[in-house]
Symmetry: C2
Subunit: 115 residues, 2 copies
């Protein structure tokens, strides 16, 4: 009965933490080394790497090790999935408001004819 989507579960869960959102915000402006992502966060490097793991598992970030530096890149297509889900809800409620507006207008028109 449920439209099960482990992808969306993992995606929204990944966004439900300020440290992970800070990482995504940083990566939206361009790729960054793990150390650069971790530096502004009020936590140890291993804790930051754990958050990064959640982002990678959700498909929001891909990282690649070149030499001694691991560089992270945002996966914008995955973030778009969350956007699409919310947009679909917005379309539904806007359609509903449109129908409600049409109904109210039709009531007014009928009222006008009664005068």
């Amino acid at each position: 009965m449920l439209n099960e989507s482990p992808d969306l579960d993992r995606l929204f869960h990944a966004l439900a933490d300020p440290a992970r959102r800070a990482m995504i915000a940083r990566l939206s402006r361009g790729p960054a080394a793990v150390s650069e992502l971790a530096r502004p966060l009020p936590m140890s490097l291993p804790a930051a790497m754990q958050h990064l793991g959640v982002l990678e598992a959700a498909g929001l970030v891909r990282s690649e090790k070149v030499g001694r530096v691991r560089t992270c890149v945002i996966q914008t297509a995955t973030l778009s999935l969350a956007e699409q889900w919310i947009n679909a809800r917005r379309q539904e409620w806007e359609q509903r408001l449109d129908r409600l507006g049409e109904y109210l207008t039709s009531l007014q028109d009928e009222g006008g004819r009664d005068d």
Copy 2:
């Protein structure tokens, strides 16, 4: 250091579950009684009400008891907060791609002059 936002934490957490997303999808199409929200879900009424509590705590749903029926209404402004956060990230990465495009074009132009 972090842009702490317990609102966004609760909001994205609330969306990270298929039963809660199903409730939001239903409420996007109009208000519904709790029993109507719970019926399609593969769980007990108390379990569904617990999910509803998470949605209410996140500010995504408001419910009101009229007589014996508790009716739920989506709070679209709250869902828009999630949309705005993702849109802001999209703008950042699109600006970055624009700058990258301009840079590549400038390289091509320089290459053209060298011929």
